[in-house]
């Protein structure tokens, strides 16, 4: 351990959340520091850049009240870390891992660097266990598995918070009462009322005791926003790989995180890439998302459900775009479905779960589950295509077989996507088979003859 070092009278410049110091000693990149201002309050920070004669420090709390003359910087000589131990569930933390619920501090058993270490790809186990979320459009069509990272692409004003809290409340393994299940909720730049909504929803479902909440509110500093998900994921890794629990991490809203990254990057004077975001946005997001997964021979798993609001509902914006390239699929919410009163308003076609193939069919769910999902997708895609056609030539201009697809499309949205209360996988699949029964069976080319006979039976028209 390095001795603690104090530096006074070295501050040269204060710019937003950044403090520039004259370099008088050799310290490591990413090391933690404490800045004590004229007001006597200690603020947490870390070294963001080092050059010949300047140290750049990201101050993680408000820099208001600091001055150049009296600021004293204490160097800890090691990266930021998080003291963790049993009993973090049911507790509430701020964005830098300090307890804010008025309870006693956490009895630390070890301290863990918040940046974590990349998992060795060889040591990863393939995520396999199907998670039943109770949402048909996810369970049947875009199944979630333990160890997956699946974001929800939403837009301002869409009910993503409700969807996330429903999944958190109802998610279960099949044939399992829930096991050793824990939730880490991480609010990034959240308005107070959204944070409160989650808390009360989790409380109502009784899930609050197995939840650790990390709250970085919209009013907190943007440098702190960059660390909140790192603290939360460090806690999640502790729960998963030290305590052996199945952890579901909900990160909301990743758009706020990326905005903060852009803000801090530009105040450091870095060269921007797309839309003003720094060139390393992809690597930076990956360092968070890739912390989901399972390790061979370890009982715990870490599943991520991150929510992001697409700026101007644009899925091509760098934030959803880069996220989609890192995560294992995405659930996309649709404003149109929401306007029509369908809940949850999941746009099925652009949604995808890449790991569904590993966690469905065979012994995981039902042997015919993948074929059912594939056929529903094919038929619904045709229904949507027909709808476009009908909007130009009118319904009368359509062939009889095409009109059938229009009806199917409507029923698909109002009966399968729309739901009141959670459904079991069996219930969801039954809805799917019932919908397919209304289509001419010779056009169901993704199903085998046996599957048609077994599930659609004599109902075939």
């Amino acid at each position: 351990m390095h001795p603690l070092l104090l530096v006074e009278h070295a501050a040269q410049k204060l710019d937003g959340p950044l403090l520039f110091l004259k370099r008088t000693l050799d310290v490591g990149l990413g090391d933690a520091v404490e800045i004590r201002g004229v007001d006597g309050r200690a603020r947490l920070g870390r070294i963001a850049a080092i050059d010949q004669d300047t140290l750049t420090i990201e101050v993680l709390e408000s820099t208001a009240g600091l001055d150049l003359e009296h600021s004293v910087v204490r160097f800890r000589g090691e990266p930021l870390s998080f003291q963790l131990g049993p009993g973090i569930l049911g507790r509430i933390f701020n964005g830098v891992g300090q307890v804010i619920d008025g309870g006693p501090p956490i009895a630390a058993q070890g301290h863990y660097p918040i940046d974590g270490l990349p998992m060795n790809p060889v040591a990863r186990a393939l995520p396999r266990d199907f998670i039943e979320t109770g949402i048909s459009a996810i369970d049947v069509l875009n199944s979630l598995v333990r160890g997956q990272k699946l974001p929800i692409f939403s837009g301002g004003g869409l009910p993503h918070d409700r969807l996330a809290s429903e999944i958190a409340s109802h998610a279960r393994l099949r044939g399992d009462s829930g096991g050793d299940f824990a939730i880490v909720f991480c609010g990034i730049g959240l308005p107070f009322d959204s944070a409160e909504h989650f808390r009360s929803a989790l409380q109502a479902s009784g899930a609050l005791e197995r939840t650790a909440l990390f709250l970085n509110l919209a009013s907190d500093s943007s440098t702190q926003r960059l660390l909140t998900p790192r603290y939360a994921l460090t806690a999640a890794e502790y729960l998963a790989f030290v305590e052996g629990k199945h952890v579901l991490v909900i990160l909301t809203d990743m758009t706020n995180y990326c905005e903060a990254l852009r803000e801090v990057s530009s105040s450091k004077g870095e060269i921007p890439a797309r839309k003003g975001f720094p060139g390393y946005l992809y690597s930076d997001l990956a360092s968070l998302y890739e912390r989901a997964g399972c390790l061979r021979g370890q009982p715990g798993t870490l599943t991520q459900l991150s929510i992001l609001t697409m700026p101007a509902d644009d899925i091509g914006h760098p934030i959803p775009d880069l996220t989609g390239f890192i995560t294992e699929g995405q659930i996309v919410l649709s404003r149109e479905l929401n306007r029509r009163g369908l809940a949850p308003p999941i746009a099925v076609l652009p949604s995808l779960s890449r790991l569904a193939k590993d966690g469905t069919g065979g012994s995981y769910t039902h042997p015919d589950h993948p074929a059912l999902a594939s056929q529903l997708y094919a038929s619904y895609a045709r229904a949507v295509q027909t709808r476009v056609l009908a909007s130009v030539v009118g319904e009368e201009g359509l062939a009889e077989s095409d009109r059938r697809y229009l009806v199917f499309g409507e029923a698909f949205e109002s009966q399968l996507v729309h739901q009141i209360g959670p459904r079991s996988l069996e219930q969801s699949m039954a809805v799917g088979w019932r919908l397919l029964a209304s289509l001419p069976w010779h056009e169901l080319t993704r199903l085998s003859d046996r599957q048609i006979a077994e599930h659609l039976g004599s109902a075939a028209p």
Binding site: P121, G279, Y280, G324, Y377, T445
Partner: protein
């Protein structure tokens, strides 16, 4: 003694150091107590710029940088097959190494191989000649070559038996009288292409087992192909399918800046797959190089060169190698990130101006060659491209398009309908498809070229008619055009769609592809004849054999070829019956 330098400035994966002694450009260096691996990328007076291939957190100014006097190199040898390595070809350790730590990855430990010399003392050899064979366990034997720059007379060669791969097994007196020794394991500078005697023109396709590729847009053995596609369009699934099914002797799978869970999936699946050609596990012909998106970014930049150098190493043994790079966009982004850290002037899209020449360097390392030892080997490069927001006009896609011969565009609408592989038949192309007419004739499909042309024009026609139907309605089209649409649907469903997860259909042998093409073409002929004879289109579209045709890929395996004849007979009978009822109702 080698040169030394002291760190002055650090930003992410790059650092600047003041040096004492001379460093060479592209020299490999070691940084700090943990000996992090780095490479000199620029020299400015007494300062060097270094890119570091490991996590730099905790590095501080004043730390020592030690030169090695050698360019950044990787270690090639018989221990590569079946292994899994990081971007600089260092083994990723066993299952017990759960996390990747900076400075913790040594070069792989020496391993014992069953060695069998092919030449005796006194033999004259040239560089790149086969001098011995080595094998481990049941795996097929690999050839041991002399280093490309080593020619002369063999003074000493190890006896048959177990030898470590880092022990000197052969001593040679060169023409200038100097003596050299070499081991089974040999280093090679990662950015230098390995030499060959000459390059050969390509005349055969790499058989991939994917119908849309082999039958419509083939890639040459020794050719280069790119797969551009937005996220979720199935690039990785397609590359994995190619790795499983293609006819190469050795597969190099490069996961460059991609997902850890995907690598876990490959690792879980490949050991269980059996190579149909020799009944051995697929893993024995595979090398996996992984730099997942959360591993150090500079190593991602180097990983693509490591992978292609490994490919050339196997090519030099007279093997056909396919390299799947997923994804070249991540490599380009790593280049951009490192370049941005140096403060270089950004070009188009923020990428450095030398992006195009680096891409060209990479793709030019593909080829069918005569090796120094006089054998024929090849490297086929298949690179995925991930254009931001699916915009194909961006620099990486655009420049890649200039260098590849086969271009397989993934279409987002097909992917949304879960129509995989989502290769768009109108936007994709293969420049040298015509070179393979003779090859297809040897596979029993001498009508391949005309069938291919017929199918492509059918798809073109479909797009035209769909545009028209959108205005006037499908019912308003004349029956012949409605039949064209029906035929195009069948072509899409039966031939272009192929499930990568179906045990029956994941790999379609050339004979199966040929049979399916003939069946669909025959359907088109018969349907048109019937329509012209006055049969109602509705009766044609509800023939039971149509559904069987659409599902034949899924229902009939590579070894059930007679079933295609049975299906053909059934189709003929059904059409004949149609004709009979059609004419009877007319009379």
């Amino acid at each position: 003694m080698s040169a030394r330098a002291w760190v002055q400035w650090i930003a992410g994966p790059v650092l600047r150091a003041r040096c004492e002694g001379a460093f060479a450009l592209r020299e490999s260096v070691s940084v700090g107590e943990r000996s992090l691996l780095g490479e000199v990328v620029r020299i400015e007076g007494s300062e060097i710029l270094v890119q570091v291939y490991e996590d730099t957190s905790g590095l501080r100014p004043g730390v020592e940088v030690r030169g090695s006097g050698l360019p950044l190199a990787i270690t090639l040898g018989p221990g590569l097959l079946g292994g899994m390595f990081d971007g600089l070809l260092r083994p990723l350790g066993g299952v017990d190494v759960t996390h990747v730590r900076a400075g913790s990855q040594p070069v792989g430990a020496p391993a014992l191989f069953e060695f069998r010399p092919r030449l005796a003392v006194g033999a004259q050899i040239v560089g790149g000649q086969v001098v011995a064979e080595a094998r481990r366990g049941e795996a097929p034997a690999q050839r041991i070559l002399s280093p490309p720059d080593c020619a002369g007379e063999i003074l000493e060669i190890a006896a048959a038996g177990q030898h470590a791969d880092d022990a000197i097994i052969c001593r040679v007196r060169a023409l200038d009288g100097r003596e050299h020794g070499f081991a089974m394991r040999q280093g090679w500078p990662v950015r230098t292409p390995r030499p060959v005697r000459r390059r050969l023109p390509t005349n055969a396709p790499l058989v991939t087992g994917q119908r849309i590729i082999d039958s419509l847009f083939p890639v040459a053995l020794g050719g280069k192909a790119a797969i551009p596609g937005g996220f979720g369009t199935g690039k990785t699934v397609l590359l994995e399918a190619l790795a499983r099914g293609c006819s190469a002797d050795v597969i190099i799978y490069l996961g460059c800046g991609e997902r850890g869970n995907e690598i876990a999936g490959v690792l879980e699946e490949f050991p269980t797959l059996i190579d149909p050609r020799n009944g051995r596990p697929m893993m024995e012909r595979t090398v996996i190089i992984a730099n997942t998106s959360n591993m150090p970014v500079a190593a991602r930049e180097a990983s693509i060169y490591s992978a292609v150098t490994v490919a050339e190493h196997f090519r030099d043994q007279g093997l056909h190698v396919a390299l799947m790079a997923d994804s070249t966009s991540r490599w380009a982004e790593a280049l951009r990130e490192v370049s941005g850290r140096f403060g270089e002037l950004p070009g188009e899209g923020g990428y450095p101006a030398y992006l195009a020449s680096r891409l060209a360097d990479f793709y030019e390392r593909a080829g069918l060659v005569e090796t120094l030892g006089g054998e024929t080997g090849s490297v086929t490069l298949i690179g995925a491209v991930s254009p931001p927001s699916g915009d194909f006009s961006e620099p990486v896609t655009n420049h890649t398009k200039r260098y590849v011969k086969a271009f397989w565009v993934l279409d987002v609408n097909r992917a949304h309908a879960r129509f995989y592989p989502a290769i768009h038949p109108l936007n994709s192309y293969s420049e040298n498809a015509q070179d393979f007419v003779a090859w297809w004739a040897t596979q029993g499909n001498d009508a391949w070229w005309s069938l291919r042309r017929r199918f492509l024009s059918l798809l073109e026609e479909q797009a035209r008619l769909q545009r028209m139907a959108r205005i006037i309605g499908k019912d308003a089209l004349p029956p012949r055009q409605q039949l064209t649409l029906l035929n195009a649907d069948l072509l899409n469903e039966a031939i272009l769609r192929q499930s990568a997860f179906s045990p029956v259909d994941r790999i379609a042998a050339p004979a199966k592809q040929a049979a399916m093409m003939r069946l669909v073409a025959r359907w088109m002929d018969l349907a048109l004849e019937s329509l012209d004879a006055g049969v109602d289109l509705g009766a044609i579209s509800t023939l039971p054999c149509l559904r069987s045709l659409a599902r034949m890929g899924e229902e009939i395996g590579n070894e059930d070829m007679p079933k295609f004849d049975a299906l053909l007979a059934r189709m003929e009978t059904e059409f004949a019956a149609l004709g009979a009822t059609g004419s009877s109702s007319a009379s």
